[in-house]
Symmetry: C2
Subunit: 227 residues, 2 copies
């Protein structure tokens, strides 16, 4: 009884709530409410601690957010860069499909970072929007280089516009991860997870037919995302 209803105790349970745990809670709340509307009290509630504790680990609400940013983006960029190694001789179709797989792996269970990439979380917070763009740009340019390589190898339509193609490919993957599980499963009879894979394949099929030099030659085998 003194456990559940302790009426007046002060600073009771230092159970080592490490910063990562706070970041997890912050990510969840930010994803739901956006940067502006998300409250530190809501984050603290989620993390099971007092709002003041956040200020012990982070300087401010904004610092908490940028810490979130630097936790995930570098990993994503790294994976993308490995994909774009010019020595990679796999067919371009396979490598572009791998771009979708990387996005799937990193963003599947993380609506927060998806919203970040979309720029939603920081609507109207100029400094942070610029910071996010700064994290995203190298990733976009990396994928773009994949298209340049594909063009040089004669596997893509010569009139292709690499930057727009990059934009189309990645952007739609974000939408697929976000929207398909939310709205389509009750229109088609598929579970949310296989709905995403189904959508990814349909999208890439359409996309590749649109960008390939000769869409009639069959695509290489496209592996499912690792689960």
């Amino acid at each position: 009884m003194p456990l559940a209803s302790r009426p007046k105790s002060r600073g009771p349970k230092p159970t080592k709530v490490d910063p990562d745990h706070l970041l997890d809670a912050a990510q969840a709340v930010f994803a739901e409410d956006g940067l502006r509307a998300a409250s530190l009290r809501a984050i603290a509630r989620r993390a099971g601690c007092d709002p003041s504790l956040i200020y012990y680990h982070f300087a401010s609400k904004e610092a908490l957010f940028t810490a979130l940013l630097h936790r995930r983006f570098p990993l994503l960029l790294q994976d993308m860069k490995e994909l774009a190694d010019p020595q990679d001789v796999r067919p371009t179709a396979e490598r572009l499909w791998a771009v979708l797989l990387v996005l799937h792996r990193h963003l599947k269970d993380d609506p927060g970072i998806r919203a970040m990439i979309r720029g939603e979380l920081v609507r109207g917070v100029d400094g942070l929007a610029a910071l996010i763009e700064e994290q995203i740009r190298p990733m976009v340019l990396t994928v773009r280089s994949l298209f340049d390589q594909g063009l040089a190898r004669g596997e893509l339509r010569p009139d292709l516009q690499p930057l727009l193609a990059t934009f189309f490919l990645m952007r739609m993957q974000l939408e697929i991860l976000d929207l398909l599980p939310a709205v389509l499963p009750h229109l088609v009879n598929l579970g949310p997870e296989s709905m995403v894979i189904h959508g990814m394949r349909a999208w890439f099929d359409l996309f590749w037919r649109g960008v390939a030099l000769d869409p009639s030659i069959p695509m290489p085998h496209l592996p499912d995302p690792a689960v």
Copy 2:
């Protein structure tokens, strides 16, 4: 002087701020901040009136938002329905392009309603999210019927999935309207407006090649959006 700096006057200038003017201001502010973070005071400031006036015309913040919803969506749906008339014998490519033109016409200058469609504005506000979905669904099904007609006429790949194709086509158009003018013009040398048209054509070219039964037969002439 008594005009600019009137220090203590009460209820001064009934200049007939009609509800539509309030809706305009609300739309702008909602688009920037989202439903939760947007404040009635900011809306009132934008409209040049007192926050209380909003309550004279609308019952609450939420009522103001739903009024916004019912102002634009029906018009959009109507245009889309005219497009999907089964008697229309134009080539399917031309009709699908017209879908993009309708979206362009209605949403080009209206980031607020774009954000509504994307569902951003109402993150975490359950009732409203359902209400928006209710407005969007008939529009989606209308466009879907266009694909069904195209399939029946043998102009589309028989293995096409109409619902996914609808999703891809419309969703990317939203992204084009939102993102291309914001991020690409300083990477490509095009003005924001022609950037959008450029992007739309590139997108539809890719899309059509992806869904057509025989992408090698040339597309009909695709008119520019009317400006």
